[in-house]
Symmetry: D3
Subunit: 218 residues, 6 copies
């Protein structure tokens, strides 16, 4: 099976890093091909950014030569272009937020979300409403992260995400916490999960759902 991972953030280093995680996740089971939106913004953080990224993702896909992948993963959270790409794609399409939520619904009765970016919580609330999952979500916490490229920032992101996870566990008691956003991909593995609670990494969830849909459609 072949998966095309398409990053809606115009940040090729982020694409490379997510592709490396995808290859580690799948091993030999799935061949991963990665691509990056040529237009838009380096890191999607608003409705305006989503609109730019959504248009760029559709245009990029239509400009690519015909190829033969079995699934398509839109490697951004939120979900820019997801409905549009799904409408035209001959293969199953996954998004990182949607995949995370659908995994979380199966892993427990209630979930919460930790994500970077001030504007994300309300954008996520709207996606949850669209998905019908609002009542299962106990809360969304934004962690402040400024420059994701610096190692020092990675340490700060980890500390802040851990604090947000611990605070949600204590005050909300979810069964699952989604650690979401392309910028935080992989971070969940470095966090300590509070007792009796699962952490879901949004990139891993999208990789798992892509695998499920490719197997189902195959």
């Amino acid at each position: 099976m072949r998966l095309l991972m398409l990053n809606g953030n115009t940040n090729a280093a982020m694409t490379d890093w997510m592709a490396a995680r995808a290859r580690a996740f799948y091993g030999d089971a799935v061949e991963v091909c990665a691509d990056t939106a040529p237009r838009g913004v380096p890191y999607i953080a608003s409705r305006r950014d989503c609109a730019l990224a959504g248009g760029a993702l559709v245009a990029r896909l239509e400009a690519r030569p015909a190829d033969d992948h079995d699934g398509l993963l839109l490697a951004c959270f939120g979900e820019p272009g997801l409905a549009a790409v799904r409408e035209v794609s001959p293969v199953p399409v996954t998004g990182m937020l949607e995949a995370s939520v659908l995994c979380a619904l199966q892993l427990g009765a209630r979930f919460s979300i930790v994500t970077p970016g001030r504007r994300w919580p309300r954008m996520i609330e709207d996606v949850l409403h669209e998905l019908g999952a609002s009542r299962r979500c106990l809360g969304i916490t934004s962690v402040a992260i400024e420059d994701l490229a610096l190692p020092a920032q990675r340490d700060a992101a980890r500390r802040r995400a851990q604090a947000a996870v611990d605070e949600q566990a204590a005050s909300l008691a979810p069964d699952v916490i989604i650690v979401g956003g392309a910028a935080l991909a992989g971070l969940a593995r470095e966090l300590a999960a509070p007792t009796g609670l699962r952490l879901v990494d949004s990139l891993d969830a999208a990789l798992a759902q892509s695998l499920a849909l490719m197997r189902l459609a195959g």
Copy 2:
């Protein structure tokens, strides 16, 4: 007051025609400035088209020189880019579907919609869900229209829209029927309204709501 009308369809003739209607609607009360998305599709008819138009609308607005309009009307139905543009605009922003629904909610207890295009009904259902207006909408009928530029097509559109309006009036008994879509702008005035029922033209509704919001914010 100055209104910028921005057409998300890349069809300058349609823009001119909607701008003429806007000027007739407002008279001297509002000065209308019109612009057309430079990229995207001539007539938006799918989720894919909406994604392309949404990105193009945001990009166009940001590329325009700073000007001093008091309101912004996104002259397409559905609503490509509406949330994104609203996030960044310093002035009130209206969309044609949303404005039509908000007028209809005030004009009666139940409404229905007639619109061109096979894919529109489900896209509209999703917007109604987002708006919270689903339970007030009794049904959405798509009328088949192929080439909106030809006069003969305009006649066919009128006949089909009238048939759809009459059928909805008889089977659904709404208080209001929205005749929606940039391609049908102005058509409602040429239709016979069934007894006891109001027809709402989606462009007129957007012009009326733009006036309301400019007055409120002014």
Copy 3:
């Protein structure tokens, strides 16, 4: 165009004051005719009051000589008699809460409400549920106001409303705050809007929506 403004509170001084505001809002564009419910309560503040006012409004309208106004504004918040009057009125009918909410939905992604009266918050919640707008409302704060006729009370109302607005801005971060209720009409203009946030006066919103619907139906 002629608008009939009908105050459901049996308080003619309040009617005069709202009519003066309406005339200032419209200038020459709309002629304003005002009337006051002859029965009911001086200031509507409960479901019981709404039932009395609703019956009185319908009866008053039916007792008036036939006239030729183009729109009808029910100048109370909540909305006593709105659905009933809308059922029988040949011209568009607006209510102050509904108009405020429909404006707020177009001015931002989330709103909140400041209103006088202990019982109003739950009555407003029920109207928002009926309108489908509950999920867009972040909170409703009641400000205590005792005697609206005294100038000193007006100062106190302004101070308390400003405190409530500031508190909502800080804790809820809405895009729009509705300052609602006939008793607070005009107050929003005297308040300082927190940065990045719009204040909506409920009477002005109803005047703006009345204008929109009269233009649309005209």
Copy 4:
């Protein structure tokens, strides 16, 4: 225990007839006192009628001398004045539509409604939405009935109601059918219930719920 039954329809013959049914239902267990709204309409059939009846019911209750009933039954369907009366009443208050629905929710998984009057179905839909019971209701059928006082009309009402019940049973397969409206009170007992389906008379449901609430509050 003493129950006050207050008819919102200004039709004393209907009040007498419902009071007789109430006395037969309760036997010695409950003493029934009946009263009729002095203002409003003979038979409530619209939102306008509901507004008039709601105001009249509140006014009537407040004008009555203090008495010592243990419960209050608003003997109309729809529910004029229910929330308002409940707000001020020291004793439990029941309404005929609400009581019917709450009984039906306990008697089966899905219900439907047969009721007189062209405007009732949408008014009932709105009450079901308010109650949260919309998804349990499979359909509402209006039966045409013109003059309820004539015996011949009673026969016609029975035939039309039976036809509506049979049609709903065949096409919707509800577990329960509510035969609702003050004008149809008592009619359910004269109808043949389709196999495996219960008929609920709306007056009997309100009598049963009044009994429950008086026992609970006693």
Copy 5:
């Protein structure tokens, strides 16, 4: 009339105690027959317990000799087996949580719930969602109770329930507080109701609703 009360908790002492309360509630009006689930758990406190109790309740009912009761009360809160038993029972079936909520909906505009057990709040939220009553519920408080058989524990339960009731009254201002759970049956009568607020005992509510449904179906 004869009522079968079937306790889903495998605790015959609890059954006896609830049957005694039922007989006191009904006097001569209803004959009470009581039975206890032979399998399952002594006190239902989780979704797992509900699944065991639900199966045991259905099996018990089907193993009983045919008898001639007129109603069936499932004497547990939550509601194990309710939909299943209702599907097969020829007589009306009530559950303690559902009956409490349906009473509360008629007694006020908003309610809250006090109940023992850490897992109950989210299980109750799910039942409220199923019933459509979520928006009327302001909050659910769990009171910690360990061994219900000890008199000392009864005192502790009363103190903790009173504290929870007082706290909800102060912070949520409900019109009604449901004191729920088989373990707390009868406790509401021993608590002081905050001013202007009714307490509903969940067993009494189920007895009252059973009476209503038996009278309605009889």
Copy 6:
């Protein structure tokens, strides 16, 4: 990875057959262990059956020796015991209806369901409401199937399912049709998919989601 597939229907032949399908689906990637509920009913077809099966599934799991599977698939549709088992299981748990719906939500904008059994449609509606997916489901069609063990019945089931799929495609135009129920497992592969529409087999969907959750949690 090791998956435990637990059939809630007490039909070991059905278990064997589903296990064979599971092994074919997974190849070497997952080791499949299968078990059958020792109590309950041969084929779950009602809410009563679900209650019996739910209790039996929980009891069976707790009676099994501790083993080391990585996931648990409840091989019945509807979903008996799912929430209960999920509460106590240390490994991810999937159900066939839920997994089908979560796959369908990712494969298109609207889905419909074909399933055997007269009572299933309303039971499924309730699960969709619980999941928040009701508005994405266009319809549920029940196909009449009597004895699933006979080859002739398999042919009849296929013909009836194909007719139901074709009818839904023509009248509802879903993007995805779920062919659901343990009795129909594997049938989707033998059906012709209408153009532009995907068929989802409910067992395959559960196998795919089990794979996703085991990979995610691993």
